[in-house]
């Protein structure tokens, strides 16, 4: 499949023949008897920037965690980069090295420095030499604008800095798609902007992203698709302008009324 370059001027009107990176077909998931995801069908193409929003308990985090098998789905297919997600541990590990994830709680390794946090996975999984891994890490630390903190420990950094390190750490594996699970929800307001700016830079460079967030400003500015989830179902999936100005479903309208009040 050929992919036409994604120009920033008219991304929404250009018909892109990009590769499919994540394909979810008829996926259902239960926690015991309680169904948390119902009939999920989702196609993510290379270069897509998708924001997933919705009330708490709607299953948005669960959905993206199914993509790197932090959660297991009981029915349906989840296919990442052509590899189907099943019990097979080899597939799971392969998929995980192509899917990067950033967590609400950062989850940096506290006993390792920033640099060591970043080089750990490339050296262990991609068998990189230490010097190459360090050069790579420095490159991404520069991209998230904190190269000078390379030898500090996570406890010495602010929340915003820690999250940016977490982003750099995930990027060091050079994944094909990045998952963000409410990356700014645990941050003080003054630090949210620096993380969102970093994510915006990433988006502009063409990274495929799925982002669960409550930051509607970010969605409007950066996303090319906004998905609304409620009670385990994908309710609405459209471009930001249609989503915010002209939501199709009542549930979406209600949610937007509540969220956009302040």
């Amino acid at each position: 499949m050929s992919s036409t370059p994604n120009t920033n001027e008219t991304p929404r009107t250009t018909i892109r023949q990009a590769n499919v990176i994540v394909e979810i077909r008829n996926m259902n998931k239960w926690f015991g008897k309680f169904q948390v995801l119902t009939d999920i069908n989702l196609t993510v193409r290379e270069g897509d920037k998708i924001v997933i929003c919705g009330p708490s308990g709607s299953g948005k985090s669960t959905l993206i965690r199914c993509i790197n098998r932090l959660e297991e789905h009981q029915e349906g297919d989840v296919i990442v980069d052509g590899i189907e997600l099943t019990e097979d541990i080899k597939n799971i590990d392969k998929i995980r090295s192509e899917v990067g994830m950033c967590f609400q709680q950062f989850n940096l390794f506290p006993h390792l420095s920033v640099m060591e946090n970043c080089v750990l996975a490339p050296m262990s999984v991609r068998k990189m030499h230490r010097e190459d891994a360090k050069a790579l890490a420095l490159q991404y630390l520069e991209k998230v604008r904190i190269p000078e903190q390379a030898n500090k420990f996570p406890s010495q950094l602010s929340g915003g800095q820690q999250q940016r390190v977490a982003i750099a750490r995930a990027l060091c594996m050079q994944p094909r798609v990045m998952l963000f699970d409410e990356p700014t929800s645990a941050l003080d307001p003054e630090m949210i902007a620096e993380v969102l700016d970093t994510m915006e830079d990433l988006a502009r460079e063409g990274m495929t992203m799925l982002c669960v967030t409550h930051e509607m400003g970010f969605a409007r500015k950066v996303a090319d698709r906004v998905i609304f989830m409620d009670q385990g179902q994908l309710v609405e999936d459209s471009d930001p302008i249609s989503f915010f100005e002209n939501p199709k479903h009542d549930r979406t309208k209600k949610f937007l009324e509540q969220v956009l009040q302040h």
Partner: protein
């Protein structure tokens, strides 16, 4: 009040032999106990039901039966099934297994105390189980296992005194020996108590140094209660 130092001094060779035996037993059984503990712990938390059940049974048996009875069973009862172990061997086997059961539960508690997000970050990066348990989880659980772990090790040092009942010539046996010759229980047992105390202090010192070397104090030291 007469403190008959001479009784102790004249028999210092017996004391020293006993001391070195206790030190030897401790030096052997504590590391073996830790290794058994790691093994049993991994079995205890595995997804394999057989492994898990074996570990649980092992821990239950060792914890619920007095160590002395365990020692007697191995020393006196096993020969009827063809397994005759010397006193020292019995002691080392029983003490190691005893420590192993407790260490297993301590390590399990330590693993459960490491925040779940750490495991998720490791998985999300595609790290292998054996790799991340060693390099990410283990260093973080040191701060949780150090206090109870040193407790168990100290207990093992003191419980080695039980081996005197199966003719192992360690410190407690030496005490009975000297007392039998000199009839000076006050001085003898005071000396023994002092020696056990010295061994324990020495051990705690070593443990603290090992802990610092493995990086276990970085996080723990910063926790204070105001």
């Amino acid at each position: 009040m007469n403190f008959d130092y001479m009784a102790i001094w004249e028999n210092s060779d017996i004391l020293l032999n006993g001391l070195s035996m206790t030190l030897l037993i401790s030096a052997i059984t504590i590391p073996i106990g830790v290794c058994i503990g790691v093994g049993i712990c991994l079995m205890r938390i595995s997804n394999n039901r057989i492994l898990r059940w074996t570990a649980i049974s092992y821990i239950e048996v060792i914890r619920n039966v007095p160590l002395l009875i365990l020692i007697f069973m191995v020393f006196y009862a096993l020969p009827f099934y063809g397994i005759r172990l010397a006193g020292l061997t019995t002691g080392i086997v029983c003490l190691s297994m005893y420590g192993g059961a407790y260490f297993a539960e301590i390590f399990r508690g330590g693993i459960q105390s490491v925040p779940n997000g750490q495991f998720e970050a490791c998985k999300a990066l595609g790290l292998k189980y054996s790799f991340y348990m060693r390099r990410v989880i283990f260093p973080q659980l040191l701060q949780y296992v150090f206090p109870p772990g040193t407790n168990i090790a100290l207990t093992m040092i003191k419980e080695s005194s039980l081996l005197s009942m199966i003719t192992v010539a360690e410190l407690t046996y030496a005490a009975h020996d000297i007392n039998g010759r000199t009839f000076t229980p006050v001085e003898t047992f005071a000396a023994i108590a002092l020696l056990y105390w010295l061994i324990s202090t020495l051990f705690l010192n070593l443990a603290e140094r090992l802990n610092r070397k493995l990086g276990g104090d970085q996080i723990a030291d910063s926790i204070t209660i105001r």
